[in-house]
């Protein structure tokens, strides 16, 4: 039976197909436009100085120098945060999946993690800021790392938890059947099976950490120098973008675009790396 085109059902089909194509197109254009806008405006301001020099005198009036302070600051902040968050997240994810699977307590902890995931990074920053004031500390790399750690933990645990939950129960039972304790099972089965996912989780959290501005705004401050210790303030790329974009000088604004370009490229590298690493590591995974 051939359908006639003027039936209501057919008209509806055509209408929604069109609507879907339009919305897909609009989304793709908007998202491609973002990368394009950053590339077109950032590229002219890019040069070797941008990534090899710290700001020189009068940098924020259009003087010489580069953004090395923000690049290294961001890497230190996100790197430190990621390491700390990993040390806390892995035991949490293991605890949820090996020692308390499907208990009410695990469900409650997962919901708490959902809440933490949704808490604005600004609030984490404000919280660490409060602790800093009460201890008489000033904005520093260490405080920024702590704020990012809090921000990254729920991201990391949720991503790890997701892959650990997918491990087939039979594999775990096989290990138990051989007389393994839970700890041995965790090492031999869960860690190995989830390894690609764990790496992806770590790099995902690193990406979120390096791109977050609100949490480091309060805690890490901003400086033209490269941080030398945990107690010295640290610059970061997102804040470099933000501050320079609000400048009245076009040269300085152009550098804000360049900073955005550097940040985007860093994220692209992290994303590509996570894909490559996950593919390599998945050789160890049994399905």
């Amino acid at each position: 039976m051939k359908r006639r085109w003027w039936t209501l059902a057919h008209l509806e089909e055509t209408f929604f197909r069109l609507l879907m194509r339009i919305s897909a197109l609009v989304l793709v254009l908007a998202l491609a436009g973002i990368l394009l806008a950053v590339l077109i405006r950032g590229l002219p301001a890019m040069n070797l100085d941008m990534i090899t020099k710290v700001p020189e005198g009068g940098f924020y009036l259009g003087g010489g120098g580069g953004l090395l302070n923000a690049i290294l600051g961001s890497l230190y902040l996100a790197g430190g945060g990621t390491i700390l968050a990993f040390l806390i997240s892995l035991p949490i994810a293991m605890g949820l999946n090996v020692y308390a699977p499907s208990s009410r307590w695990a469900a409650f902890t997962r919901m708490t993690l959902d809440v933490l995931w949704g808490i604005p990074s600004l609030v984490y920053g404000a919280f660490i800021f409060l602790i800093m004031i009460s201890m008489g500390m000033r904005a520093s790399l260490g405080a920024g790392i702590l704020a990012l750690t809090l921000l990254q933990i729920p991201i990391m645990v949720r991503a790890m938890d997701e892959v650990m939950r997918l491990i087939p129960g039979g594999l775990k039972e096989a290990a138990y059947g051989l007389g393994a304790t839970r700890l041995e099972m965790a090492r031999a089965v869960v860690l190995r099976q989830a390894l690609p996912g764990i790496f992806t989780a770590v790099l995902l959290a690193f990406g979120r950490g390096i791109g977050d501005a609100a949490s480091v705004l309060f805690t890490a401050g901003f400086t033209d120098r490269i941080p030398t210790s945990l107690a010295s303030p640290a610059a970061s790329l997102p804040l470099a973008v933000f501050f320079q974009l609000s400048s009245p000088f076009p040269e300085v604004r152009a550098r804000g675009y360049a900073a955005a370009l550097i940040l985007t490229v860093l994220i692209l590298i992290v994303s590509g790396l996570s894909r490559a690493v996950a593919r390599r590591l998945s050789r160890n995974v049994v399905n």
């Binding site: 949490i92 949820l96 409060l130 973008v241």
Partner: protein, 317 residues
């Protein structure tokens, strides 16, 4: 697979290690709750002094914000946050759902497989970059849109522009909408793909068109997941700070149209934390704003968990 890699060879040592690990892992797993409680407690403690000054009701609904004169009313900022977040959801959710349906139900397999990594990548782009795009592209376009609407429809409520610049809650909403769309799309795609093929086939077998199959068979089953996706997008949009600050205008007045500037709570905190120790009770008021953000997120999570439980029950029966 070598299982007995433990440091100690005796069974007691292995069991001891296991018990020790159990304790420490479960201790670690209580960390999220501790962080949440400690954070809420610390913010509450810092907020309390403001309530010797204004009542909680005045704090939330007052529309005067003059810290130096001791007037703290958050309603302008709350309305700024609400406006921007709602606009973002309204702009983002329908096209995101349609795009996901298109990619899962209509597009070729290869298109979806090629696009998934791109979507994940876009979800990872820092919000400041979206803000840069907003300043470069959205802000200049918004006044033109306002003029166009005015020339076609005349003066409409909520759409009449008295703001010559594009720094407006509409710009904020658009930037946030584009920012959260990769998240919403990627979760919705996952949800749609998890719906068993048989559901579609059953609908097609009784003579429905493809869209009818989607509308009557796929979407009702996918609803809980789609709500979850929207909630994830909402919480990202709600708490975004710098990307919004860059385009929203930061003028402390309740917006009357989407072309007016606004001043969200997050922007208030980020703009003023530097001076908060210099004016009495200013710090308490700002921490109160942060506490408000925290409380809203908690309430929202509980609500969505309840709604999801209900909806998925309805979908099952």
């Amino acid at each position: 697979m070598r299982l007995s890699q433990s440091n100690s060879r005796t069974p007691f040592g292995r069991i001891f290690n296991d018990k020790l690990a159990a304790r420490s892992f479960l201790l670690a797993a209580s960390f999220p709750l501790l962080v949440l409680l400690f954070m809420a407690g610390a913010l509450l403690l810092r907020t309390l002094p403001i309530f010797q000054f204004v009542t909680p009701w005045e704090f939330l609904t007052g529309d005067l914000w003059r810290p130096s004169q001791g007037e703290f009313g958050l309603s302008t900022f709350i309305s700024g946050t609400l406006w921007v977040t709602l606009l973002a959801l309204v702009v983002a959710v329908p096209p995101c759902i349609l795009t996901s349906i298109f990619l899962v139900e209509y597009a070729r397999r290869g298109t979806l497989r090629g696009l998934l990594p791109v979507i994940d990548l876009l979800a990872g782009i820092p919000s400041v970059v979206y803000g840069v795009w907003g300043v470069l592209v959205v802000v200049p376009l918004v006044p033109r849109l306002g003029q166009f609407l005015r020339s076609v429809f005349g003066d409409l409520p909520l759409l009449t522009s008295s703001n010559p610049t594009g720094f407006s809650i509409l710009a904020g909403g658009i930037v946030l909408a584009v920012m959260i769309s990769p998240i919403i799309v990627s979760i919705t795609i996952e949800v749609l793909r998890s719906i068993p093929q048989g559901v579609r086939e059953a609908a097609l077998a009784v003579g429905s068109t493809r869209w009818q199959a989607v509308k009557h068979a796929v979407l009702p089953n996918a609803l809980p997941g789609i709500i979850a996706a929207a909630v994830m997008g909402l919480s990202r949009a709600f708490g975004e700070t710098l990307a919004v600050m860059m385009v929203v205008g930061n003028t402390a007045a309740i917006p009357r149209s989407v072309f007016d500037p606004g001043y969200p709570l997050t922007a208030l905190i980020a703009n003023n934390y530097g001076e908060m120790m210099s004016i009495p009770r200013y710090d308490a008021a700002l921490m109160g704003a942060a506490l408000l953000l925290l409380v809203v997120v908690i309430v929202f999570n509980i609500l969505s968990a309840l709604v999801l439980a209900r909806v998925s029950q309805g979908a099952r029966s």
